[in-house]
Symmetry: C2
Subunit: 405 residues, 2 copies
């Protein structure tokens, strides 16, 4: 008998009929002998509806009261799912975050889980009940309702799995797993059976939005086996786990594409300490998030400095940078909004040399010009003109044989 934590997102519980389908899925898992804890999100559209009401009164809405408001979304779903389960004759009980209780810090709208008191949940499981828990929410030490921020239901599920030492945490979504790349770009893209936490983190942060990054970090930290699978079809999905649990890691697990990038280059900055912080300080002060950063020092005592930001922050970042560069007598500031970032991710990189050069050679064969390069332990990212986006992804997917088992 396994203890499984399942999590269903807003689309999976968006209507009465879908809630009934989830109840049926739970009944089957239970029939197979598993103990089940089910974490649910608000019905799709509900959070936005509530947010709309709040904003009509005060925008932005005060943080504490917004959490009181938004947390009702998941509370509705836990009650409805528990009712649907009981309608099938399955003993079920619902808990809000406060009832569990999921203790968080006091950071309304983006609280972090401090601890979970799972005694009641364990007792209910022992008594044969399915326990349905509201995702996304908790309670601070003073009893105020808090929320974990958008997508926080994934984190709730992983945290419950860690607290209960569950055998597996299953995240049901509208896709049937993690793919080697976006199947809309590469039809041969293949669902991965297994992927490591590190790879998943790199893929998630690079644009494969299957899972919330925080939940993967949490799973990695507490060694929770995490499985992504579809709530609309059957299939094993993708297991996200430690490297130890993957017999032979592939060289490369996936190719990711991020279109939401724009780059800014400051040419001829003085090649001396403090330049990077002089340029990026005002950007950070303006709350603009910087993604890639590359600096090349030339032979003439000056350097070229390039970084990327999200496209909708490009104009703001460019204006800030122009002001800064004037002060530091840089030669020129240039920018480009029509770029994309393409990355290959794989723990196999750690033990295999030559992956980068193989990547660059394949792109060169297609005469794709590389504008920026950035590498981490298990990832190589490049920036190319956006017109090459799909071609670059297809070329790399093919080069590293990702379509093959």
């Amino acid at each position: 008998m396994s203890l499984i934590v399942q999590k269903y997102g807003g689309t999976s519980v968006g209507t009465v009929e879908r809630i009934q389908a989830v109840a049926l899925r739970i009944e089957r898992a239970r029939g197979a002998g598993d103990q089940l804890v089910v974490v649910v999100s608000a019905m799709s559209g509900e959070t936005d509806r509530l947010l709309g009401l709040a904003r009509a009164l005060h925008n932005p809405p005060p943080a504490r009261e917004l959490d009181v408001l938004l947390s009702t979304g998941e509370q509705v779903t836990i009650a409805l799912l528990a009712i649907a389960l009981q309608a099938r004759g399955i003993p079920a009980v619902s808990y809000t975050g406060a009832q569990v209780k999921i203790l968080t810090d006091e950071a309304y709208n983006k609280a972090r889980i401090v601890s979970i008191d799972s005694a009641n949940v364990s007792a209910d499981l022992a008594a044969g009940k399915v326990v349905v828990i509201a995702g996304f929410q908790g309670v601070d030490a003073k009893g105020n309702i808090t929320t974990l921020g958008r997508g926080g239901s994934d984190t709730t599920a992983v945290a419950m799995a860690a607290a209960l030492k569950a055998d597996e945490c299953q995240i049901y979504t509208d896709v049937d797993g993690v793919y080697t790349t976006d199947p809309r770009i590469v039809p041969e893209a293949r669902r991965l059976d297994r992927v490591t936490y590190e790879e998943m983190l790199e893929m998630a942060s690079l644009g494969a939005k299957v899972l919330q990054i925080r939940s993967v970090e949490f799973a990695s930290k507490y060694h929770v086996s995490l499985r992504v699978l579809s709530s609309f079809s059957d299939g094993p999905g993708t297991l996200i786990t430690t490297e130890d649990n993957i017999m032979e890691a592939a060289l490369i697990s996936g190719v990711t594409l991020n279109r939401d990038e724009a780059k800014i280059t400051v040419l001829g900055v003085p090649d001396r300490p403090g330049v990077a912080s002089t340029i990026l300080g005002p950007i950070a002060d303006a709350n603009i998030e910087v993604d890639m950063i590359v600096q090349n020092s030339g032979a003439d005592g000056s350097a070229d400095f390039t970084f990327t930001v999200q496209r909708n922050e490009y104009d703001k970042a460019l204006a800030i940078c122009q002001a800064t560069s004037a002060q530091m007598q840089a030669r020129v500031v240039a920018g480009d909004k029509k770029i994309v970032k393409v990355s290959i991710v794989g723990v196999g990189m750690r033990s295999h040399a030559g992956i980068a050069s193989r990547m660059f050679r394949a792109l060169a064969a297609e005469t794709i010009n590389i504008q920026m390069i950035s590498t981490s332990e298990i990832k190589i990212s490049i920036v190319v003109d956006e017109k090459y986006a799909e071609l670059a992804v297809r070329t790399l997917h093919s080069e590293f044989g990702l379509a093959e088992e």
Copy 2:
């Protein structure tokens, strides 16, 4: 400086605009120097929407989960009202029933309040905040969410007022007070400035549905001054209080009409002990509520026994009664669905004789035949043919001079 508990029902908080109007009303009361606790219901329509979702899954829905579901309705309103208040620059904080905490028994869907821990609320009031509390809900000793049943928000307001020893509990509704009778029947009907708890209880149970009976009982028990007033217009409303606080009680305070009555008569029942329970036992077993009961013993050793029920239970009650009367050899069972109950209510009856005969004389002058009579300490009720309903009410309203100040 007074401490006031205000309660706004679903219609008063049914839209964003109405919530803003409530916030404005609270701002004015606060400007007058009062400390304010505000109890709110779910936005109108919300409870029915949630109930619809639950029933689509399981009808009737399991009690515990229904309370988890329905309690979200008020939680949405407390957050929105607190947000609306903060938008006006008024410090405000919201509490669910569990957060207050309002401890109840474990009777889901119809819980009774056991105690209220008002320490947090008092601290917030002392800090100058408006405290917004979810009506209708509480939490049992094990931390399960409970609800007080429909209309329970009035009870929450009165209970909070009692716990806080508030100076007044104001119930905002869509009427501007308690009237001497239904103004749709008698245009001269007058708003009462003051009425006693006892009178209000008799009026409420007789069909003047301004306040939930339980909340009036609660107010009476804890001597909470209760005021009914309109959330859509200004005016003093009606104060419901102890007899001591009413300088000179009127002879009669109001005339009420209940159209939802049907009567059943068993003629010629043996005049011996146990007859009433023989007839009414099976009725109670069928969960049919009986209102008036009248028995007259004749000279021939047999008696006539008459009682009234709600009209929609008439057919069921009649069938039961026919079966019972056959067993006890009663002569005949007769019934009538076209009757109404008209009552006069007033604490003045206690100290004035002759009110009943004055009532009967006035009705006789209009040739209205009285079918049943039932009296209590401060009320006289009669049953008449429904075609006389309005005439009887107008006759009595005029006879006792209720239109005059």
